[in-house]
Amino acid sequence: MLLASLLLITAAGCAGVAPASKAPAVTVKAEKIWARPSATMSAMKASGSMGMHGSTEAKSPAMGSATGSMSAEAMMGPTSAIYMLLSNSGKEADALVAVKADVSEKVELHQTTISNDVMRMEPVEKIEIPAGGQVELKKGGLHVMLLGVKQQLKAGDTFKATLVFSRAGEIPVEVEVRDP
């Protein structure tokens, strides 16, 4: 009996603290996954001085600010955002730590906050999903930012992405492009 109690405590105590020693059952779920339509690449590539009067001449993007080795595509290209509802039915917290998607050069986790009527966007390292809890990635809040979208995302399109969780590992998903 004493042994049983000790085991119980150990098991319960592990929650959210100890790393999984064996492959844990997948308890996180992503639903209502959608992304905003993106711009065309051609419009994004068109760069130049004011008063070009609709010239279609494409120049290489010229950046004024020093940003070193950043990819020009990611910095200048079209952007989009992926939203979803994450739930965790498990007894242990999990976290979305990355998203992989071939549709864009870079994929980042971001959070928008508004205080005193000023919008601020900030990258976040991970999005925690508490045990038995839910986190919604939604407009004006947490979102997955796509930088340098390679092909135009149009309403009705779908594309593949992989969600990477710290415990549950990689979960492949399909993202629907939608005009809200």
Partner: protein, 218 residues
């Protein structure tokens, strides 16, 4: 001695069992996500009525590449003015969708209103880029950009925030913190109201109709 050991063990087991039970309950309990309130939740979706002031005129370049002069008291019976940038993937498209839905709500009356989107990112936002962007939401939306100094002058004149910020840990290069609300200017060229981020387009349209009813241009 033996009895003492037995009682002690029983007590320990009971204590541990109780603790285990509490842990299980604690862990299994459904907790609310520790996510900060989203802007839509933070703000009451009510317009902020301003002490009316004369909206400053300005000159920029529109999304077709032509010079655009904004004279607040001329040209329309109301103007909606938003400062944003096309690189922004969240708040700006949400606001453009609000523009689109307000235009839909207003129907034919939308013709009496100017819908302006001033880029606070003139380095990235060329007229071409703005054209593609605004037309995606509604062709009635006028995208405006200019030389960085011109844009800065407009930002200053309107007292809005537009702060370029290098962001570490991001491939964005830089992001821009900016004012999130829409400024509403009446037909007499006075800034009269602010629509906060996340306001229901139906409510926005209702307030615009009120402004249109009060009379248009002076």
């Amino acid at each position: 001695m033996k009895t003492w050991w037995k009682w002690g063990a029983l007590l320990a087991v009971l204590l541990l069992a109780a603790l285990a039970g509490w842990r299980i309950w604690e862990v299994g309990r459904v907790r609310m996500p520790a996510q900060p309130l989203t802007p839509a939740e933070q703000l009451r979706a009510e317009p902020q009525v301003l002490n009316p002031y004369s909206a400053p005129p300005f000159a920029l370049t529109d999304h077709t590449g032509k010079p655009y002069s904004f004279t607040p008291a001329e040209g329309s019976d109301a103007t909606l003015l938003f400062f944003g940038y096309t690189f922004c993937p969240d708040v700006c498209p949400v606001t453009m969708i609000e523009y689109r839905d307000i235009i839909k709500e207003l129907g034919s009356e939308a013709n009496r209103v100017r819908f302006l989107f001033v880029s606070v990112d003139p380095e990235r936002d060329t007229p071409e880029r703005l054209k593609e962007y605004t037309e995606r939401f509604n062709p009635a939306i006028i995208g405006l950009t200019g030389e960085p100094a011109q844009v800065e002058a407009v930002v200053k004149a309107y007292g809005v925030v537009a702060e370029k910020r290098a962001v570490s840990g991001s491939s964005a290069g830089y992001l821009i913190d900016h004012t999130a609300s829409i400024l509403v200017i009446d037909g007499k060229g006075r800034a009269v109201m602010k629509f906060p981020f996340g306001m229901d387009p139906k409510d926005s349209a209702r307030h615009i109709r009120e402004i249109l009813k009060k009379g248009g241009r002076s």
